[in-house]
Amino acid sequence: MAEGDPPRDDLDCRRRHNSFAMTLVLLLAQVDAPTAAEKFANATASGLALGAIYALLALGLVMIYKATQVLNFAHGAVAALGAYFAAYFVVTVNFPGRYIDWAPQTVQWALSVLFALALTAVVGYVVERVTIQPMIGEPLFAVVMITIALDIIIRTITNDLIGQATRPLGSPWGTDVVDFGLFSMAKTEIATIVVTIVTLILVALFYRTRVGVAMRATAFDQEASMAQGINAARIFALAWVIGAALAALGGIFSSLFPRSGGVAVDRTAFFVFGALPAVVIGGLDSITGAVLGGFIVGLAEVYAGVYLTAETWPLLGLGFSRIFPYLVMMAVLLVRPYGLFGTEEIRRV
């Protein structure tokens, strides 16, 4: 608040007239150089938006992990594929927008996105059936490698589909910015936060439905749930279907971040490397943890990007904000090896 605070002798009556002019000058100066408070508010706003993206991606990861005990390293590739599908539906074929051109643009866009999510969910289903289902009961190492191999395959195919340039996503919000006085946010960022909150509510509601309860039961004790007549294989497939759809949603919004953008596989898939520390900080099998971890990582990354820059801390160099979440994660793991909300594994001989 060094610049924003009125000088102490402004309180002096003799100089009140002067102080008014000074405040005006300071107010005008704010437009150019943001004050510390504004800097912080802006960082917090975009940190929350980034955190929302991480939370979306982390949600999909945790959903799959909870049900199947598999951490999906292909999540980033699936996210990029989903974003590509969205770009294809919105821009390339304009489906279903071309049949409902009377509807507002946001609605058209949302419908295209829904179709993209459905298509990605189908991909998730096929992938689970072909590669994950035969691996149930195999050691962790093997299943992790399967998802890494899937990542390589899906990533390469998506790369080929997208081609050289970035694919625009035709977002209805464009580069519009809403000014809140102290800080400003892109409409895309607001949309991201809103979508994340809605998704969270939907997921919470899903866990209360019959199928959702079955999924929780399977996650809690697979054998007991099978004895109760729950088809565990179908629950696994369902977890992957929902996980893939959530990945696609995360992929679409991470492609749009921070202002309007487009799909490029490496850029879109890279966001998952931010979501990984998020799920670990939160605990791999906790939905609450994933969301909280997502926001922690998003804020940590943006704060590090704003305050721990090369100008103020020359030793940190470039790109420190990218690895800062991992350092936070390692610190958390030193204290709590299963994350903040993760269930501790009970080890028996």
Binding site: T131, T156, M329
Partner: protein, 413 residues
């Protein structure tokens, strides 16, 4: 008792490196083949392997095999899934560069001879491994995989920003040459492994000399790895892998042994990184990426987890695969240009023109289909999945199956 398979009358016999005469002879033949017959082009039909580019490729196999042996000790024996191999390779490579690089230039370099920088690369990497161990030992399973993944990112950030050591992003630096000197940088080295020369009246090219040096190193490292497996520590690693709590109950110090496995594995990775840097000559910081780590895990899996033989097989297969695919694509492309049945079949797989359909494109960017590079990646992923689903023991498992088939031949069981 001699000649009965799987019958051992003493513990020493069972634990022997080469328990049967068949194995001893097979290994001896293989060694003669690798060290003499291939590099000096003495086997008809395999002469092409002794030529420059194939020698380079086989040298690369040896380097990756050393790194994979390190991961074998940590993951195959110790059961700790690590994605951090690329980070430790980076530590080793840049230690070698700092110690062995030319002195007095813009980049860090002390100009020390190879017998200093090569062991130092391993030792420094092992030391860093020990530093990391406290965090790594506390977490298990998938959490460890993510922590080591974080290491790779931290490493990338460090290498990109430490310009005076690494040369900086996208420009990189040169690594010390393969040459033996006692001390100092002036004059000719005692043995220069990269220049052509005449040994005992035989012409030896630089590639062959480098290959011989690397293959000898590989043999040493493989024997050491195999022996580690047979020591108390090796058995402790395996006990921890199979059931960590049970191992602890039996008196295996879990944290200490995990840290030891990390240190040994990092030593191998460090040496591998130093060799790789010198072998390629110039590396950019981005080389030590996550994909490199994944490649090592793939080597273990395709070869067969938990066996030295499998690791060596896997390293050979994974390193040679891109070259084989490339050659095969060229062959298909040439065949597709001709006439007849084979041309038709080949044409299905390659697309040679703008409107030609095909899986692999011989004209990148213009025709449909994947480029050879993309196809390699996909094939890589598909192979991993196929191996994991159908043959969890990898190439080694296939070898065991063939062996068992012939052992009981002509009966099928």
């Amino acid at each position: 008792m001699r000649g009965r398979p799987l019958l051992y009358t003493s513990y020493e016999d069972e634990q022997a490196l080469l328990p049967t005469w068949t194995k001893r002879i097979a290994v001896a033949v293989l060694l003669v083949f690798l060290v003499i017959l291939i590099p000096f082009q003495l086997v008809p039909g395999f002469r092409f392997l002794g030529e420059g580019d194939w020698m380079t490729l086989l040298g690369l196999v040896a380097i990756f095999a050393i790194g994979a042996l390190g991961l074998h000790i940590l993951t195959g024996l110790g059961g700790q899934v690590s994605l951090g191999q690329a980070f430790f390779m980076g530590v080793g490579a840049y230690t070698a560069a700092a110690l062995g690089g030319p002195s007095g230039k813009a980049l860090l370099g002390l100009g020390l001879p190879m017998w200093v920088w090569l062991p130092a690369a391993g030792l420094v990497a092992a030391f860093v491994g020990v530093l990391v161990a406290p965090t790594a030992v506390r977490v298990r399973g998938i959490y460890l995989a993510i922590v080591t993944l974080g290491l790779v990112f931290v490493g990338q950030w460090l290498w990109i920003n430490w310009v005076s050591l690494t040369g900086g992003s996208q420009s990189g630096r040169r690594f010390p040459n393969f040459e033996f000197r006692l001390w100092g940088e002036e004059g000719d080295p005692i043995v220069d492994l990269t220049a052509d020369s005449v040994w005992f009246g035989v012409d030896v090219s630089g590639e062959v000399k480098t290959y011989l040096f690397l293959i000898v190193l590989l043999i040493v490292f493989a024997v050491v790895a195999k022996n580690i497996q047979r020591t108390r520590s090796g058995r402790a690693f395996m006990a921890i892998r199979d059931r960590d709590v049970a191992a602890e109950v039996m008196g295996v110090a879990e944290a200490r042994n995990k840290a030891l496995a990390f240190a040994i594995s990092s030593f191998y990775a460090g040496v591998c990184g130093a060799l790789w840097g010198s072998f390629i000559g110039l590396l950019i910081p981005e080389s030590f990426s996550l994909f490199l780590s994944i490649q090592f895990l793939a080597i273990l899996l395709i070869g067969g987890v938990g066996t030295v033989t499998g690791t060596l097989l896997g390293a050979t297969f994974v390193t040679l695969l891109p070259r084989l695919v490339r050659d095969f694509t060229e062959l298909l492309g040439d065949t597709a240009q001709g006439d007849g049945l084979f041309a038709g079949i080949a044409d299905i797989f390659v697309s040679t023109g703008l409107d030609d359909f095909g899986l692999i494109s011989t004209l990148p960017g213009t025709s449909p289909g994947f480029t050879v590079f993309q196809f390699n990646l996909i094939l890589y992923g598909v192979l991993l999945i196929v191996f994991l689903v159908f043959e969890p023991l990898g190439l080694y498992g296939i070898w065991i199956r063939i062996k068992n088939y012939w052992r009981s031949w002509p009966f099928s069981y």
